[in-house]
Symmetry: C2
Subunit: 528 residues, 2 copies
């Protein structure tokens, strides 16, 4: 049981598997590729869940929340702020407009949402990295939004474009990270009005996985779409979804002009919007789970239906960011039971509405990748998968309530994503897996270590952690008593060292760079 444990070989990556629980033929090859830093990263396709979803609300509870959300939509209404066009669209659709507040006749939003697809494909520049959004698929995407990083020297500082690129590279190399994400951190060394160009370019240049667009101003959304057209071709972008975008509600019950502007750009271009109330329960929503679910449903129905007013059939997700606040200090808290109940409930409401669902990830409030970070992240991530979440932002790297993107946490998290992916394959019930021959061969009092069945099946039998040290205490002591975060640090350095960019057509690359140059030249620098 002791001695050197190869599980902690830092050059290893988890064993990729083929779709549907069968082993990919390239398992060992993919591991070698990851070790050598070959051009093709050892990616696993998105998760196709073969285990059931977990549900916490019964039919009566769901119907009650839905009826109450309809009441909120009709009686309280939702504000669509500083956007005349939005109000006009709602008026034409039959809503009752009072000032900036839209009151929705019962059934209007639900009717509009009938044109939204329940499943769609987001295309990547490498078709092998295409992801399904919706149905029994789960797609993991990295942390989104932090202005700070915790770097590999352990310093907490403002993020730069180099940090941004490094997170893109690590996400590219992580087998169970299916998506390159969006603002993996804020590159604050680049003017705020220009940095979206560098972010989108970095996703395209340093990864071949699907990515997210800018939502901080309508013209930045336009830039994102323009760059996608250069990358994929105009026709392709018109007919396919190539970018997915985070449209936060300004909870409670407000959409502001920035988010509405971006939503309109993307919906018009047939690109995907995640309409996502950002909820710290007790502040942005009622202090209770059922009340929070009611408000979330009302907000999502209004925002998602709006995308269908803009362009019927545009892909849209039911999003939920669920956390609580400490009622003593006002600090946000993560990984606690109440947000888990919110996420499970919201997933059920999304399925009944026929929309793909986004929640969760690896959320935590800790300042360092310690036991607090891990417990909070694990509680959130287990919920994310079992809820049947289709798109999981913040799946790796999130620290300190989203203020910090952390490289060590990123590595610890992607290891956990690999475990979730394996779990989602469920129980193999083949004759081989049932193993009656092995039980007969071994018999009472012996062991299975050397039996034929074990030798034939051990290679991919168990998930091999990238981070866990299962050596003896003596071995671990001799190797310097490294805790998990130190092993994660070494792994991140190793991956970055071995990174090689996926090939990108030179003509496209030049066209992208020319577009960025031209756009930047037309802008003054803006910070803040």
């Amino acid at each position: 049981m002791t001695g050197s444990d190869k599980d902690t070989d830092l050059s290893e990556t988890p064993t990729p598997r083929g779709r549907g629980g069968r082993r990919a033929s390239g398992g060992a090859a993919a591991r070698r590729a990851a070790r050598s830093g070959a051009k093709r990263a050892a990616a696993m396709p998105y998760i196709t869940r073969r285990v059931p979803v977990y549900e916490v609300l019964d039919e009566e509870a769901l119907a009650r929340i839905e009826a109450n959300a309809d009441t909120v939509l009709e009686e309280v209404g939702i504000e669509f702020r500083d956007d005349e066009e939005a109000l006009r669209l709602w008026k034409d659709a039959g809503a009752d407009i009072r000032g900036q507040r839209v009151h929705f006749p019962k059934g209007l939003c639900r009717e509009l949402l009938k044109t939204a697809p329940s499943v769609f494909t987001q295309h990547a520049r490498n078709p092998e990295r295409n992801v399904q959004i919706g149905g029994d698929a789960t797609v993991f995407a990295p942390v989104y939004g932090p202005p700070f990083v915790r770097d590999l020297e352990g310093e907490r500082r403002y993020a730069t474009i180099e940090d941004f690129r490094n997170f893109v590279k690590l996400a590219y190399m992580a087998p169970s990270m299916h998506h390159s994400g969006g603002t993996v951190c804020e590159p604050v060394d680049i003017p705020v009005n220009k940095r979206h160009l560098d972010m989108v370019y970095s996703h395209i240049r340093y990864s071949d996985k699907p990515f997210m667009g800018s939502v901080t101003a309508p013209d930045r959304a336009e830039d994102t779409v323009a760059m996608c057209r250069i990358l994929f071709g105009e026709q392709f972008v018109d007919n396919n979804t190539v970018v997915i975008n985070l449209i936060n509600a300004n909870s409670p019950m407000v959409f502001d002009d920035t988010m509405l502007g971006a939503a309109k750009v993307y919906a018009r271009a047939n690109q995907a919007c995640i309409v996502s109330p950002f909820i710290l329960a007790g502040a942005m929503s009622p202090v209770t789970v059922a009340g929070t679910l009611t408000q979330i449903l009302a907000e999502v129905m209004a925002g998602a239906a709006f995308t269908q007013l803009v362009r019927p059939g545009a892909p849209v997700l039911f999003g939920t960011f669920a956390a609580s606040i400490s009622m003593q200090s006002g600090a946000p808290t993560f990984g606690t039971p109440e947000p888990a109940l919110v996420s499970y409930g919201a997933a059920q409401l999304a399925r009944r509405l026929g929309l793909p669902f986004r929640t969760g990830g690896s959320l935590c409030g800790s300042k360092v990748p310690d036991a607090q970070a891990a417990h909070e992240s694990a509680n959130t991530l287990n919920t994310t998968l079992l809820a049947g979440t289709n798109f999981a932002l913040h799946s790796a790297g999130w620290l300190e309530g989203g203020l910090v993107a952390c490289f060590e946490k990123f590595m610890i998290d992607v290891d956990q994503l690999g475990m979730q992916q394996r779990f989602a394959e469920g129980v193999d019930m083949s004759e081989t897996s049932l193993a009656m021959d092995a039980i007969r061969e071994v018999g009472p009092g012996n062991h299975y270590l050397g039996c034929d069945h074990t030798r034939a099946n051990f290679e991919n039998a168990f998930y091999r952690s990238l981070i866990a040290d299962n050596n003896s205490f003596e071995q671990w002591d001799m190797e310097g008593r490294k805790p998990a975060e130190q092993r994660a640090n070494a792994l991140a350095r190793k991956w970055l060292e071995n990174y090689e960019a996926p090939a990108l057509d030179e003509g496209i690359d030049e066209a992208l760079q020319a577009y960025i140059r031209q756009r930047k030249e037309a802008m003054p620098d803006a910070f803040g």
Copy 2:
């Protein structure tokens, strides 16, 4: 969102709740009691699950595994070693005995198990601490078995009786720890043939929660029952279950005379046995999930049915200890996907057999309470609750694959147990929780922090962590940048400082001490 966060007030304990999701009237009082170290610990009753179980196997898969287990029982058989009485009992019951191996006609074990109760009560000396074993109840018990401790100075050393008592005290004080457990650590400073007396006495003296008995020799089991008779009265022990005992199968497919001897003592005395294959898959069972489940079911059916041969109606649990081994080094691994699938599947098999189920806890392979420890523990613990586990040994304090009992880990884990208990209450669908008044009162663009509904409901709205630091980075920095394990250390010291023993009848105490003295005088010292 920043400033001092009272959530990290180390004197706090989680808010107790009444049964069935209603708040206990003594919530604040119980917190005050815990703070002041009052005689009555702020205990929460065992969990009554109001959320569904999660299941990974369909009817066809379950029937297949059951049919295969029947085949294993009949064709391969199970060894009952060095116990003539056991073989005779099986022969009389109609089994086919070949040497020490028992072959079971199809249906025999299942028929015998019809007399085993699916739900029973384990009584505690304080009736408020009685626990239900089975049905929709979940009972958390501490770590079991470690020869080493990681003490509050961070030293890893052999455990002593003082460590043992300290874990009993902490378990007594932890609101979501429903049980005092058994060998919370091995007090190796006491001779091996005598220490069971001091262990059982410590559970009785320093706690009033239910506890476990000795299984390391039949006469130690007899001592346990004798001490229970002194504590509860002879008549009461004959008619009620007052002690629960871990009977490990010697997997694959063997029960040895030590465990059989203890099982016979307890079953005859109407006390509960947990028949529990100890499985490191790939060594003690096939390298696959379905094969492992087949063997577990066969072993449990044989062992549990044996208790019914000894005394029909004696309480018995379907136990499963599920871990894998690294096929590279042979080291056991925890918190990975395969053992989770085993636990979920075994829980389903137990329900179909009508037996209460034991698995899981907060298992990990880490040497320190770091992110690895937390991730592995969280993965195991989430599975434990959602599987519908009735008795969860190792719920707090387990480190290094069970070799070490750790005080810091104990505190971190009991915090997580509180979260599980809260989660299990499910979603409150009362009018108050639906919060339509709050949504109407607050309206778009405002916040809920000061509204009537929030003020009326915030106190027990969200689980308050004992360990998490949700303060701002600046505050955390100023306070010395303490990671979770340091906060856990301070909390353990504080609890131990504030501990006060529950009252114990002096006559009973003297009788117990006299029994122990007399028994010890009759034995030579034995170490080893």
